[in-house]
């Protein structure tokens, strides 16, 4: 834009409203642009801002898959570490938001696969810049996954659900749960075992269809 030209109010306003309509909400977009611009001049500061802005919503999203606050935080921290180590900010073509959400979802999936020993689905690559994981059906599959997990857990018998949540979400040890609920530690172990079996069973039949030959797209 030529600074000597007088600003034309009309066109500016029109541009802004177009922007709003397309994106649907001003604030998140502005923050993204702001962080991206900070990365141009001060990478470390940009990274700090990025972390502070997205850490909480990402953790909240992750816990819907793994049901443990500690694991969720580990996963999100890992995603940020990856981001830094791969210097994603230098080559990224999508928003940081999109990249980070996809990265966190993939790690959640890998964690679930490890935890539930699901032999069927394959490992997912870390989020690639080629946005292969942003295909519409893949996105919705991830949505369906956390919704399904929520339904399964909501369907646990009450005592079972209570023990599972105290352990995973509450981070309580088996002994603490046993003391709190006045049951034996063995009973606690049995509840957790049963919960995992149920999760394993329900998610086993739930395939995440992997696009064959992912590497070709990178």
């Amino acid at each position: 834009m030529n600074l000597t030209e007088p600003l034309r109010e009309g066109s500016l306003m029109q541009a802004n409203s177009e922007n709003s309509q397309e994106t649907g909400s001003d604030l998140p977009v502005d923050k993204e642009f702001f962080i991206k611009s900070v990365f141009q001049t001060d990478v470390k500061k940009g990274y700090d801002l990025l972390f502070r802005h997205y850490y909480t919503p990402l953790c909240s999203h992750a816990v819907r898959y793994v049901y443990s606050k500690e694991v969720a935080e580990d996963i999100v921290s890992e995603a940020f570490l990856s981001f830094w180590k791969k210097a994603v900010h230098e080559h990224i073509t999508t928003s940081f938001r999109a990249y980070l959400f996809v990265s966190v979802r993939n790690k959640c999936f890998n964690y679930l696969k490890w935890e539930l020993r699901n032999e069927v689905a394959e490992e997912l690559e870390d989020a690639t810049l080629a946005s292969v994981h942003m295909q519409p059906d893949r996105l919705m599959e991830f949505d369906e996954l956390y919704m399904k997990i929520e339904r399964i857990i909501a369907g646990f018998p009450p005592q079972n659900q209570k023990v599972f949540m105290m352990s995973r979400f509450g981070g309580k040890s088996y002994q603490e749960i046993a003391d709190k609920l006045q049951i034996s530690k063995k009973a606690v172990e049995a509840h957790i075992s049963k919960a995992l079996v149920e999760l394993r069973k329900a998610l086993k039949s739930y395939h995440l269809v992997i696009i064959a030959g992912l590497s070709e797209f990178i």
């Binding site: 850490y55 490890w114 519409p136 002994q175």
Partner: protein, 331 residues
Amino acid sequence: MRPELTKHTVFTYFSGDATTLQKQIIADWLAEGRNVETYFEWLEEWERTQLQFQPNTSAALLAVTEKLLREEESAPRRLTFPAKKAITKTMVFWAAASLFIAVFGSYLGRDFLMYRTYKTAFGELNRFCLDDSSIVVLNANSSLKVPRWGFGKSTRHVYLEGEAEFSIKHTTDHQHFKVHNADNSLITVLGTEFVVYTRPRQTNVVLNKGKVELSSNAGEKPLTMLPGDRATIEKNGKIKVEKLSEAQLVQHSAWKQHRFVFNDTPLREVAAKIHEVFGVVVKINDKELATRTATGSFPAENAEELLSNMSYMYSFEIMKAENKIILIPNP
């Protein structure tokens, strides 16, 4: 005629309450590339209105930053440049510094460049994934060295000092996973779960699942371990095996929940353990007190907590001197 898709619809969908019809509308909407970004904007916004919990962001950022700094220290591979525009003085400084470090680093040893080291501080636990998706939980005051290149090409080698629990992923080409211990003994696995303890005073391995082969540096025939086995390598290199009960097995991973499990353990050994894990020196000047044994499972995130949890049961008082803790028997 297609109904309008609004943010409200998508929020309803994220909450799990969308109808099949609404899901189809969303699927069609997402098929248009540019809407993917909007999808994520709305996902972020929705999450913020439905936060499942409030983590401590500052603490997490601190931890991540420290981790990055530690890794830069142990292997300065890439120093990022602050500005892309002009060549600033800072850039020149970093160029010179990285050159110096590269030369210095390679002089000091291939270690810095060839291996990536995971370390834990006293009282710290670290859980992480290796490139082959194996999961490692590293106990306090421990380090695991992993080759930067070639890991997973033909064999997977790692070097452990301290204590860690491994959940090794079985690869499709049946690659071995080898853990080199501090005393030069070697653990070979295909895919399994086990806990290794390897510090100056002893090396032992507890197997939870799968099969593991253990060979000590005494050149004896390697021993094959089965689930539930605990193998201890004695000072002369001989390997002793015992079968553990379910309860005892669980005890060996108790540290993952910041718990200490003792079974007729003399307080002298408890003191040694505290030193290993927390780096705190504990002195027991009374001979009788040092031989008193402790049994039980104690939660503790630091030395003070563990000792105060035990003080009532084992009748001792805790006194803090400049940089150590002294235990005095309670008459």
